[in-house]
C-alpha cells in the first residue's frame, strides 16, 4: 500500500519524495519495465535529477512557485476506482466521445480508434513512434517528471475516414484516499488531410487536493486540421500543469482555445511548432480568476520554416487575491522568412490584491518578417460604463455586461456550440455571483 510511503515521507524534500515514489512505481511494474517506455522513463528520471524541480529563481518560473504547491504533498496515484468515472462521463457525453482517465489510467474505452498507451506501447505499435519525440525530457523538468512516471494515456490516430466526433479526454483525480498527483501522457496524430477535435476537461473526486501533470504530443500532418479545447473549470482543489506540444506540417492548421475559469494552481505550457511551410496556428486563452487562484500561461509559437502565420490572443480578468501570469514567446528561426506572427495580451485587474505578470517575448532571427505583440493592463472603459448606466443599468450590471463582452471575444473562438454554451453560462454565473455579492 502506498499509504506506507505517505507515512514515511512527510519530511522528505519534494525531489526526494519523487525519487522514492519513482522507486515504488518501477517496482510496482513487476518486471514490465521494458522496451520503449522503460527507456523513456529512465531518461526522464535522470533528466529530472539533473534539472531539479524549478524554483522561482528559474526564469520560466519567476512568478509561479511550484514548491508552495508541492507542500501539499501529493502522492503518486496508484489506486483506480473506475466506478467514479461513470457519473462524470454523463456530464460530458453530449459534447462528444468521452474518454475517462482516472488517476492517470485510461478506463477501458469502447470507442473505436482510441487506444490506451499502456496497451499499444507494449506491442511497440506504429502508433507510438512519435512518443517522446515531440515533448522531450531534455531541458524540461515537467516533461521529464511526467516521462519518469510514464504509464498510460490516450493514443489516437485520425485520418480522413475517422469519426468527426470530438474526443473528450476527461481527467478524473480521485482524492478519497488522500492528495494525489497523476501523470497522463497523450499522443494524437492527425494524418494528412484529416481533421480532429480534442477537448480536455478535469474533475476532482473527494475533498483532497489533486494535481494533474498532463503531457500531450500531437502531430498534425499536411493539410490537416486540429482543434484543441481546454476547459479548466474545476474546484479550488483541482490543480494542473499541462504541456501540450503540437507540431504542424505543411499547410496544417491548429486552433487552440484554453479557458481557465476555475481551479487552484494552473500552469499551461502550450507549444505550437510550425515545421512545414504554410502552417498556421491560432492560440486563444481566457483567464477568469478570484480567491487565491493562480493561472499561468507560458506559450510558445515557434516559426521554424518560411511562410507560416500565427495569431495569439490571451485575456485575463483577475479578482480577489488571484494572480495571472502570461509569458508568450514567439521564435522566428533563421531562414523562417515571410513569417507573420501576431500576439496580444489584455488583462483587467479588479482587486487591489490581484496581480498580473506579463512577459510577451519576441526572438527573431530572420529579417523578412512581420511580428507584432501588444500587451495592455487596465480597467473597464469608463465611457462604456457611463453609457450603460445612462441606459438604466446598475453599476454591477454594467460591469458584468462589459466583463462578459471582454471574455466573449475568446469564447466566441470555441466552434462547438454545446461547449461554448457551457463556458458562457459558467462565466455568466461567475459575474452574476459577483454582482450579488
Amino acid at each position: 500500500m502506498m499509504t506506507t510511503l505517505e507515512q514515511t515521507s512527510s519530511n522528505l524534500s519534494p525531489l526526494e519524495r519523487i525519487y522514492a515514489e519513482h522507486r515504488y512505481f518501477i517496482e510496482s511494474l513487476n518486471g514490465h519495465n521494458q522496451g520503449k517506455l522503460s527507456h523513456l522513463r529512465l531518461r526522464g528520471i535522470e533528466e529530472l535529477q539533473r534539472l531539479g524541480i524549478p524554483t522561482v529563481r528559474h526564469e520560466e518560473w519567476k512568478y509561479t512557485n511550484l514548491y508552495s504547491l508541492l507542500a501539499k504533498q501529493f502522492a503518486h496515484a496508484r489506486w483506480v476506482d473506475e466506478s467514479v468515472a461513470s457519473h462524470i462521463v454523463s456530464q460530458f457525453s453530449q459534447w462528444g466521445t468521452v474518454v475517462p482517465v482516472v488517476n492517470g489510467r485510461l478506463v477501458a474505452s469502447t470507442a473505436p480508434g482510441i487506444f490506451s498507451l499502456k496497451e499499444v506501447a507494449s506491442s511497440d505499435n506504429q502508433l507510438v513512434q512519435r512518443l517522446g519525440t515531440i515533448a522531450v525530457s531534455e531541458g524540461n523538468a515537467i516533461v521529464a517528471w511526467n516521462t519518469a512516471f510514464l504509464e498510460d494515456g490516450v493514443v489516437v490516430r485520425i485520418d480522413q475516414h475517422s469519426p468527426k466526433d470530438p474526443i473528450i479526454i476527461t481527467s478524473v483525480l480521485d482524492t478519497r484516499q488522500g492528495n494525489v498527483m497523476a501523470h497522463e501522457r497523450h499522443l494524437v496524430e492527425v494524418a494528412p488531410g484529416g481533421s480532429a477535435t480534442v477537448v480536455f476537461v478535469q474533475r476532482t473526486v473527494g475533498d483532497g487536493e489533486a494535481l494533474l501533470n498532463q503531457v500531450l504530443e500531437c502531430w498534425v500532418g499536411e493539410n490537416a486540421q486540429m482543434l484543441i479545447l481546454i476547459v479548466q473549470d474545476g474546484t479550488a482543489n483541482s490543480h494542473a500543469i499541462t504541456t501540450h506540444e503540437i507540431e504542424l506540417a505543411s499547410n496544417a492548421r491548429l486552433q487552440m482555445v484554453t479557458v481557465s475559469i476555475g481551479g487552484g494552481f494552473i500552469r499551461n505550457m502550450p507549444a505550437a511548432r510550425l515545421v512545414g511551410e504554410g502552417a498556421h496556428a491560432e492560440l486563444y486563452g481566457l483567464t477568469i480568476a478570484d480567491g487565491t487562484m493562480l493561472v499561468d500561461h507560458h506559450t510558445v509559437v515557434d516559426h521554424r520554416v518560411p511562410s507560416c502565420t500565427s495569431n495569439e490572443l490571451y485575456k485575463a480578468i483577475l479578482d480577489g487575491r488571484s494572480m495571472g501570469v502570461f509569458n508568450g514567446k514567439i521564435f522566428v528561426r533563421p531562414n523562417a522568412q515571410r513569417t507573420n506572427a501576431y500576439q496580444a495580451n489584455r488583462s483587467i485587474v479588479r482587486s487591489p490584491r490581484a496581480t498580473i505578470n506579463a512577459k510577451p517575448q519576441l526572438e527573431i532571427f530572420a529579417n523578412d518578417v512581420r511580428c507584432t505583440h501588444g500587451c495592455t493592463v487596465g480597467r473597464l472603459d469608463k465611457e462604456a460604463m457611463f453609457y450603460l448606466r445612462s441606459r438604466g443599468l446598475s453599476p454591477a450590471e454594467a460591469e458584468a455586461l462589459l466583463l462578459t463582452a471582454f471574455a466573449e471575444e475568446i469564447t466566441a473562438q470555441i466552434p462547438i456550440e454545446s461547449i461554448r454554451a457551457h463556458v458562457n453560462a459558467t462565466i455568466e454565473h461567475l459575474f452574476h455571483a459577483d454582482e450579488l455579492a
Binding site: V332, N335, P352, A358, E363, N367, V377
Partner: protein, 486 residues
C-alpha cells in the same frame, strides 16, 4: 525646418567616408597604472592616491566584500568568454604633479587628446552652453565653466573632488539609488571607482547650460569604473550629456560605471548619452564590455527623470537606465536607439518602478540589428500595490537589416494595482524593399536611403537629444550601419 535640413547635410558628409572608427587612436601620454589584480590592498591604494577620508575607504571595502560573495550575472542575452578580474588594472591616471587649479594648468598633451576627440577644454572655445568634465581613464582631467556655475550655487566637479570638498552631500546620497550590493558590476564599481562627475543643483535653480562628461579609455589592460552622482534639489532643472570613446584594440576592455540620479520635489533631470565605445572589428575582435548600472529616483512629488540614449558602440552592452517613481505625480522617461552591427551584442532597456500615486512613465525603444549582431530589449514595468492611477506606455520596435542578425524583446509587466493602465506595443520588421526602391527612383542610392530611413525610424528618440548631440547621433547611426546593406 532647419533641423531637418541639417540632418541631410550630415548624411551627405557621411556617404563619402569609408567606415572607420574615427576615435580609435591611442595617445602616448605618461600614465600611472597600478598593477593588475583586485584585493583590499589595491582598494586601499586607490583610496589613498585620491586622498580619501576613512569613511570612503570603509565604504569601498564593504562593497568589495559584497562583490566577493556575488556571482557575475548571466541572464542577459549576451555571450562572451569569462572575464579574468585579476588581470585587469583598476587604476590608471595621467601623471601629473598636482590637481590643476585652472584650465591653463591642464597638461597640454591631455588637452590635445580631447581636442582630437572634438572636445576642446578651453572655455573660450567651448560651444556655447555646454560645460564639460573630461574623464581620461580613471580620473577627471578638467572641468570647464565651473566658476560660472558656482556663482549660481551649482556644483559641477569631479567625483574625487566632491568627496573631498562636499563630503556631506556625497555621504548623504552616494549609494542610495544604486546600493553597493545592488548587483555584481555595481559592487565592483563601488569598490574601485576612480572618478566620475558630481553635480548638485540647488533649490529653484535652472541650470542654464548643458552639463557634459566626456569619458575616454586610453590605457591598455585597464578597466574604467566611473561613478556619477547628480542631485537636483527642489524645483531645479539640469540637462546632462555623456559621451564616450576608446582606442581600437584587439583585447576587450571592461567598463563598469554607475550613475545615480536624484530628483527632489518638482525637480527635473534630463540625462542623455551617446555611447560610442569601440565596438570591436568586423570579426568581433576587441571592443569594450559595457556593463553599466544607471538608475534615477524621483524622490519628491512632481519630479521627472528622463533618460535618452543612443547606443552604437561597445562589443557588449548590458545597460538598463531605470527610474524609481517614488514621489506622487512623478514622471519617468526612457528613449533609446540601440544599433548593433557586425558581432556586437546589446541587451539594453529600462525599469520603471511605480511606487507613488499618479506616476507616469513612457518607454520608446528603437533597436536596429545588422550584420551578425544580436540586439535585445529588456524592460520592466512594475506597478506596486500602493501606486494608484499609475500609467505606462511602452513602444519597442526592432528593425532587422540582413538575415544573419537577431532582434529580441523581453518586456516584463508586473501590475499589482487595479487602477493602473499599462500599454505595451512591439513590432519587428525590416526596411521594406518598396521604400528602398522609392528612394532609388528619386536618385538616392541604397546606402544613403538606409541612413535616411534609420534616422526617420529613430526620429522620436533623436528629437529628445539636445541639438549638438542629435547631429552627432545621426552621424553615428549612419556610420555604424555602413556596409550593412548590399
Amino acid at each position: 525646418m532647419s533641423e531637418q535640413i541639417e540632418q541631410v547635410d550630415v548624411l551627405e558628409q557621411l556617404t563619402s567616408e569609408d567606415y572607420q572608427y574615427k576615435y580609435g587612436f591611442e595617445s602616448a601620454i605618461e600614465e600611472e597604472i597600478v598593477p593588475p589584480g583586485l584585493n583590499e590592498n589595491i582598494i586601499r591604494l586607490i583610496s589613498e592616491k585620491k586622498g580619501e577620508p576613512e569613511w570612503m575607504l570603509q565604504w569601498r571595502l564593504q562593497a568589495f566584500r559584497y562583490w566577493q560573495q556575488m556571482k557575475e550575472p548571466h541572464w542577459a542575452n549576451v555571450h562572451y568568454p569569462p572575464i579574468d578580474y585579476q588581470a585587469i588594472s583598476y587604476y590608471a591616471a595621467p601623471k601629473r604633479s598636482k590637481q590643476p587649479r585652472s584650465m591653463d594648468e591642464v597638461d597640454p598633451e591631455l588637452r590635445r587628446i580631447f581636442e582630437k576627440l572634438g572636445i576642446p577644454l578651453h572655455e573660450q572655445e567651448m560651444l556655447a552652453g555646454v560645460a564639460v568634465d573630461a574623464v581620461l581613464d580613471s580620473v577627471s582631467v578638467a572641468t570647464t565653466f565651473r566658476e560660472k556655475l558656482k556663482s549660481m550655487g551649482i556644483i559641477f566637479c569631479s567625483m574625487s573632488e566632491a568627496i573631498r570638498e562636499y563630503p556631506d552631500l556625497v555621504r548623504k546620497y552616494l549609494g542610495t539609488v544604486v546600493p553597493p550590493n545592488d548587483n555584481f558590476f555595481a559592487a565592483l564599481n563601488s569598490a574601485v571607482f576612480s572618478d566620475g562627475s558630481f553635480c548638485y543643483v540647488p533649490p529653484g535653480v535652472r541650470c542654464p547650460i548643458e552639463l557634459s562628461t566626456y569619458f575616454r579609455i586610453n590605457a591598455r589592460n585597464t578597466g574604467q569604473f566611473e561613478r556619477t552622482l547628480i542631485i537636483a534639489d527642489e524645483g531645479s532643472y539640469v540637462s546632462y550629456l555623456e559621451g564616450c570613446t576608446a582606442p581600437m584594440r584587439d583585447e576587450n576592455q571592461l567598463h563598469a560605471a554607475v550613475v545615480e540620479l536624484i530628483a527632489l520635489k518638482d525637480a527635473e533631470i534630463k540625462y542623455s548619452t551617446v555611447q560610442n565605445w569601440y565596438p570591436g572589428d568586423k570579426e568581433g575582435k576587441g571592443g569594450i564590455y559595457n556593463f553599466v548600472t544607471k538608475r534615477g529616483i524621483c524622490l519628491g512629488e512632481n519630479s521627472k527623470i528622463s533618460w535618452t540614449q543612443v547606443e552604437t558602440g561597445s562589443a557588449i552592452t548590458w545597460k538598463y537606465p531605470s527610474v524609481i517613481l517614488k514621489g506622487d505625480n512623478s514622471v519617468g522617461e526612457f528613449y533609446s536607439v540601440a544599433v548593433t552591427n557586425h558581432r556586437q551584442q546589446a541587451d539594453t532597456g529600462t525599469k520603471m518602478i511605480h511606487i507613488g500615486r499618479h506616476t507616469r512613465s513612457r518607454i520608446v525603444s528603437k533597436g536596429i540589428s545588422a550584420g551578425y549582431s544580436n540586439n535585445s530589449y529588456r524592460g520592466l514595468v512594475r506597478i506596486n500595490p500602493q501606486a494608484e492611477n499609475a500609467r505606462n506606455f511602452s513602444q519597442c520596435d526592432s528593425l532587422l537589416i540582413g538575415d544573419k542578425c537577431g532582434a529580441h524583446t523581453f518586456p516584463y509587466i508586473e501590475v499589482n494595482n487595479p487602477t493602473a493602465i499599462v500599454e505595451h506595443e512591439a513590432t519587428t520588421s525590416k526596411i521594406g524593399e518598396d521604400i528602398l526602391f522609392y528612394c532609388n527612383q528619386r536618385g538616392i542610392d541604397t546606402e544613403t536611403a538606409v541612413a535616411l530611413i534609420i534616422n526617420g525610424y529613430a526620429r522620436e528618440v533623436l528629437s529628445k537629444l539636445p541639438m549638438e548631440f542629435a547631429v552627432e547621433a545621426q552621424k553615428l547611426l549612419a556610420i555604424s550601419l555602413e556596409g550593412s546593406v548590399g
